[in-house]
Amino acid sequence: MREIKSKVQFNNEVARDTYLMGLKVEDEEFLAEPGQFVMLRLSQATDPLLRRPFSICGTTRKNTILILYRVVGRGTFLMAAMLPGAELSILGPLGKGFRLPDPGQRTFLVAGGIGVAPLLFLASRITKHSPRLLIGYRSQNEIIDISGFDLGGVEIVLATEDGSTGYHGVVTDLLASELNRLGGAPSVVCTCGPPAMMQKVSEICLKEGIPCQVSLEAAMACGVGACLGCAVRNASATDGSYYHVCKDGPVFDAMMIEWESL
């Protein structure tokens, strides 16, 4: 983990209120694993105060970090207004990422909306495995333009809740129907999205006996295990103990998480 200075290289709107930012790290190599995250300092002023956590959506030419984000609050509102050349401090890479599937393991990646960010990074690393990337949106006007990603070999299937594009329904139903239709379950499922959706994915996987990795999000102040703010309940502990999303995750085996606590 390091604190690194970076410059905004581009900051393009890729869907309504959704942007892809490229951050160029000067004179350094930034080596990250899919599923890891960074804490970005979005202002030199004291309001907003804390850094914000973002999944790493990819790295290119070893020194550009891609961040895919949706404008949801004051931090991301400031971020959306940043122009190329703006300076940002990065703390990272942080946390534990996805365990990469072995070659030959059939992999399904299941994304809910902006939750596609870490899965795009993962997909780009395992294109040779021909993973299937299922992405759910509410409607086609939310569809994130990912044409800039080199995803040759990745099969992308879309679902919209209103049926405006692709499968008509939620992405968890798409997952269930794909499992039925294809027969022969995948060896691994990796998912990121709203908690209720990930819980449903993990239930489907549990029923089918498929190992499932989930990438969680939590409010956090430090990102390095110091503040203990990002607690999530440990499903197997009898003493009510917690994991911390920043250090123990953000990627967990679905079985580890007490979903009702989220």
């Binding site: 300092r41 102040a221 503040c227 203990l228 607690a231």
Partner: protein, 307 residues
Amino acid sequence: MKTLEPDLRVKLGPMELKNPVIAASGTFGYGDEYADVVAPNLLGGIVVKGLSLAPRPGNPPPRIAETPSGMLNAIGLANIGVEAFLKEKLPWLRTLDTTVIANIYGHTVAEYGEVALALKGVDGVDAIEVNISCPNVEKGGMAFGTDPEIAAMVTEAVLKNTDKPVMVKLSPNVTDITQIARAVEGAGAHIISLINTLTGMAIDVETRRPRLANVSGGLSGPAIRPVALYMVYRVVQAVKIPVVGIGGIMEARDALEFLIAGAKAVQVGTANFVNPRATVDIVEGLKQYCIEKKIRRLEEIVATLRV
């Protein structure tokens, strides 16, 4: 002509720190979390995460919420317990060339004494900081630090069970903080640190739920700095023992305010989250200030407020 390196050492009761900048409890883990970005040996000291007798899992999430120029936290004093601290964390802390301060708390007066006893004679722990802001289960959950008599009892219980300098960390959630300060001084505390967080809350108006699962939490960050500064200024007038200033210190100029108001040292907390190098940046900034103002010893500026 060669510029003389200013002397940043400060005397804090029975201790001497290499500089007045200490990492505050609960914001720096057990010291190792930030070791990648901050060389701990550059700091005046490190206060480790508050320790209790038994490990505590802490509160349900959400535990933190950002507020204007500040943050609320209700971590619930989650920690690994004093025994695991000694076994897992202390060996590394012992290798450091900085002052290591163990922050402790209890839920009864006796428990404070027991945690202090567990650290008695332990090599590598240089001092004890006593958190008196937590709820007293024997008094219906009212914080120990809100009653001068009970604050003094806690101080005595710790002093009786330790061979180390004792610093008592005061809660600002009181009517007159100088009363508590005098009470713990009277009980024999060597040092006072202040302020702990101010109690507050925030509400999500969409869901009408509190933004912390615990409903209320402790406010920290630059938002509380003027409050903290004034309380430090008042406590410095009220007691003879050294005072350590805490509250929203982000950079060297903030630390200087506290020193000028009379604090002998400062603790840096929330700033670590925003700028992990905040502590070392402050040390560097204090050095630069001394050079610019031709101050040989930083201690010369302590309590030099011109009123």
